[in-house]
């Protein structure tokens, strides 16, 4: 079975959970066998893991004819893509896009991030999708998150193949309800044009049904999983330390509920001074949080690390005793799974999608600061609970694999393909 996937991020260059999930799912599907996946991303760097998916760069796909020779192409994009693919794609240019700002290869440049002109970039991505879908044969089209829905719809119109969209988050999660109408429009358009919708949790599934008015029978939940961490990361040295460390790790934005973490920390510190709190990450609420910590008079025990990347994340986790994710609305939330795999017991909000599949975590309402503080205190004070959640948590995580998630997605593909016939 051939699948054409549109994504926005791919490890190792990731900005959030989307990249990790796309990678894990693709790999899990590949491991189920008999899957040929072409994965389109805006701007590959060449160091992405290949082998299980054929990576196509949107910024390497020509939308206007340029007379270039093979060696030149090899030199320009050889480390990212096979030059032959460039020429194949060039044969399928379907309109004259010379009026656009193009580079020497006739390609559109992409930032691959989330720039201010993101709407323009989404549109360009969908132009490129037209060329790609004419070139790459496929049985099913799969779009990851709203940025790629227009591309998916375009590809569906070109090829007539069924479209599956994967909702990793909705704008309701990101904005605590104050949705951006443009984004909402793109999302709703994608959902209505899709033959099937995959959501990462039942929480998101309900949002899709209730807020976007989608028929429940075409929405299925496939929970995310976790990619086993390498032994090197799992065996990171754990420092002997006097104080217990309780960590918040993620974007410091409204969606993640950082202020509840600070308030709970203040409660714990009133009673127990042998705890340190770390807020790792960056975001638009960071300054507010620094101010709040100072106002609560806990700044001496409350630390900000700034943005952590790659290995630093796992070093932080290895140094932590408790991981907290107080998200106000979290479609899934892959990071507690990683913390658990590192042997760090987690406290998560009941409003997180991953709460649906995890048993060995403490779940509280995000607004219930008392309950959260109580859970923090209990995890640092009562070794029985800490040990149990650590040991059972690791076992539990090992049962959640991307292979199982991949299998479910393949079943959905079969289902939509059968409906087509």
């Amino acid at each position: 079975m051939k699948a054409l996937m549109f994504g926005w991020e791919f490890p190792p260059h990731i900005l959030g959970g989307l990249g990790t999930a796309s990678y894990g799912l693709t790999k899990g599907m590949h491991n189920n066998g008999d899957m040929e996946i072409s994965f389109v991303i805006p701007k590959p760097q060449g160091d992405e893991e290949k082998g299980f998916a054929n990576i196509i760069g949107a910024n390497c796909t020509p939308v206007a004819w340029r007379d270039v020779n093979r060696d030149y192409v090899e030199g320009r994009i050889g480390k990212v893509m096979d030059p032959q693919l460039y020429f194949d794609l060039r044969d399928h240019i379907y309109a004259d896009f010379n009026y656009m700002r193009l580079n020497d290869l006739g390609c559109i440049e992409f930032s691959g991030r989330y720039p201010d002109n993101i709407i323009e970039e989404i549109n360009n991505y969908s132009i490129v999708a037209g060329v790609i879908s004419r070139t790459i044969p496929c049985d099913v089209i799969h779009s990851h998150d709203w940025l790629t829905y227009p591309a998916g719809i375009h590809a569906k119109n070109v090829t007539g193949k069924p479209l599956v969209i994967h909702v990793h988050a909705t704008d309701f999660d990101r904005s605590r309800g104050n949705v951006n109408p443009t984004v909402f429009g793109i999302e709703k358009d994608g959902m209505e044009n899709a033959d099937h919708i995959i959501t990462v949790s039942d929480l998101t599934r309900r949002t899709v049904i209730d807020k976007y008015g989608i028929s429940p029978d075409k929405v299925t939940t496939v929970h995310n999983a976790v990619i086993p961490l390498s032994d090197e990361l799992l065996n990171l040295p754990r420092r002997e330390k006097k104080d217990k460390v309780i960590t918040f790790l993620g974007r410091i934005t409204m969606q993640k509920g950082p202020e509840y973490f600070v308030e709970a920390a203040a409660k714990v510190l009133q009673k127990n001074r042998n705890v340190r709190f770390v807020m790792a990450g960056s975001g638009d609420m960071m300054d507010d949080m620094i101010r709040l910590a100072a106002k609560r008079n806990i700044a001496d025990r409350f630390h900000f690390t700034g943005f952590l990347r790659g290995r630093q994340v796992y070093e932080m986790l290895a140094d932590s005793d408790v991981y907290v994710m107080p998200s106000v609305s979290e479609p899934f939330g892959i990071s507690p799974l990683e913390a658990m795999e590192m042997g760090v017991p987690s406290i998560i909000s009941k409003q997180s999608g991953c709460a649906e599949i995890l048993d060995y975590v403490i779940k509280t309402d995000y607004w219930d600061i008392d309950a959260m503080a109580d859970a923090m205190h209990s995890l640092v004070s009562y070794p029985g609970l800490h040990n149990m959640l650590r040991d059972k948590g690791i076992e539990e995580i090992h049962r959640i694999t991307w292979e199982k998630a991949g299998k479910k997605v393949i079943d959905i593909y079969r289902h939509v393909m059968d409906n087509r016939r």
């Binding site: 109580d374 205190h377 209990s378 004070s381 609970l385």
Partner: protein, 485 residues
């Protein structure tokens, strides 16, 4: 002639209120009065009261042919006294019929039989005293918390003078043996064991209102046919049921009380009689020994103690709690001792069970908490406060072995001071008396020597208390010297 033994169990724990860690050290009241009141009042209304009336009616109608046993925990009695005192009167009426045997057990429905044997014995005696005081009954048969039993516990029970003990018919222990006989304990040959018949009890407690059950509906006629058709040699059927099953899990509308009321009549037709456990044990000879090296219970599919001691949370909580058992027994703060009772209830540990959410369903059904982890957190917070209070009783630097003789000395000192005071007063009276006499003598015969009489009495007193320590005689001397002045 076959005997049927019904055992009705009544227990309610003192549920804990939501107790956050910042309450530790500030708030020493741990209980959710509202929930406790609400639950026991509801149960009494739906189940306990109608069931007690049913039993009374059965006894009356059958002219005392219907007999049964009731086991009730101390914490349940306390709550009933607080919230539903009329049920205590009903129990008294039942006790007065002479057809109901009350069983001994642990006061707080606790796990002390597994954790602390001294505490276990103390608890059993405490419940015994309470039952004697309230209902005027002396217990002969023992039923542990959820029928927990093993060979060690058998010895403790026999050691307390019980002759009969009820325990669970766990398949992994009985094997091919039938529960419908009397057995004896391997480690305590004088202790007779009665085994519950789970199948027949389950037909009432679980299947009675299950319409998809192939034997539905269950009638008294059919039920007693099953008992009557068991092999001739099987002489006793023990059915251990939670009393709140009647009227709550099996609502009154299913006709459960009518089913019960019909039992004595149909039993009489078939020549089946109802007995109390001690009657059964005095009539029947044990057919064999049971060796039970590992504790078993009446709970969950596994019929072992893993519902309370199955995970790290429970083990930590239990070991922390029982680590202060001796300290608590040494102190005499009444409120502390009360909290000690209530915190031991096995229910608190049952709520922490994580038997992965398969058996967990029945655990969750009874738990006031949303997860085993919050049950643990809440209990440990309460326990932390309790431990602080225990530690405040005595300095931590002194260990129990040292503390014991010290406390003994302190207590003896009190007794000693009391006896000394008594002596001083009696001496004073003697002296006064002798002075009076001397004065009288002086009046009677002025020139006579007055010395002869006064020393006599103190000397006699000295002889009578010859054993007393030298310090005491010194004290006495000085006292008498003062008086002389």
């Amino acid at each position: 002639m076959k005997s049927v033994c019904f055992y009705f169990n009544i227990h309610q724990p003192f549920r804990l209120k939501r107790y956050r860690f910042f309450d530790i050290g500030n708030d020493h009241y741990y209980y959710d009065d509202f929930a406790n009141d609400d639950i026991i009042t509801r149960l009494a209304e739906q189940s306990y009261m109608p069931m007690a009336d049913t039993l009374l009616e059965m006894i009356r109608e059958s002219n005392g042919a219907f007999k049964c046993a009731i086991s009730i925990s101390g914490t349940a009695i306390e709550q009933l006294q607080l919230y539903v005192p009329e049920f205590i009167d009903k129990l008294k009426q039942l006790a007065d019929t002479g057809c109901v045997e009350f069983l001994a057990g642990t006061y707080a429905h606790s796990l002390s039989s597994l954790e602390d044997h001294d505490e276990f014995i103390r608890e059993v005696k405490q419940l015994d005293r309470l039952l004697l005081r309230l209902f005027g009954v002396k217990t002969k048969t023992f039923a542990n918390t959820e029928l927990i039993y093993d060979d060690d516990i058998a010895m403790l029970i026999a050691g307390m003078g019980f002759r009969n003990c009820l325990t669970a018919g766990a398949k992994h222990v009985l094997g091919w043996k039938s529960p419908n006989y009397v057995y004896k304990a391997a480690t305590a040959p004088n202790l007779r064991l009665l085994i519950t018949n789970d199948k027949l009890a389950g037909d009432i407690s679980m299947n009675f209102n299950r319409t998809e059950w192939d034997e539905y509906p269950l009638t008294a006629d059919k039920y007693l046919d099953w008992i009557a058709s068991s092999p001739e040699q099987e002489q006793v059927v023990n059915m251990f049921l939670s009393m709140d099953t009647f009227g709550t899990f099996i609502p009154e509308s299913t006709g459960i009380f009518e089913f019960m009321k019909a039992l004595p009549r149909f039993a009489a037709v078939r020549g089946i009689r109802f007995s109390t456990p001690s009657e059964v044990c005095s009539h029947l000879k044990p057919v064999g020994e049971l060796t039970i090296p590992y504790p078993l219970s009446d709970i969950d599919e596994a019929r072992d103690v893993s519902a309370w001691k199955g995970n790290e949370l429970q083990n930590e909580a239990l070991s922390k709690l029982y680590s202060v058992a001796e300290r608590v027994s040494l102190c005499d703060d009444r409120r502390l001792k009360l909290d000690w009772e209530y915190l031991q209830s096995s229910d608190h540990f049952y709520y922490m069970c994580t038997k992965n959410m398969s058996d967990g369903a029945s655990h969750a059904a009874f738990s006031p908490y949303d997860s085993p982890f919050s049950a643990f957190t809440n209990y440990m917070n309460v326990l932390a406060d309790f431990l602080v209070r225990v530690q405040e009783q005595f300095p931590e630097s002194i260990d129990n072995e040292e503390l014991n003789p010290l406390l003994l000395t302190i207590r003896n000192q009190a007794a000693e001071i009391a006896s000394l005071n008594k002596e001083v007063t009696s001496l004073r009276i003697n002296i006064l008396n002798s002075e009076e006499k001397a004065a009288m003598a002086e009046i009677e015969a002025e020139p006579e020597i007055p010395k002869a009489v006064p020393p006599k009495k103190p000397a006699a007193k000295k002889n009578s208390s010859a054993k007393k320590a030298s310090t005491r005689s010194i004290a006495k001397k000085s006292a008498s010297a003062q008086d002389d002045k």
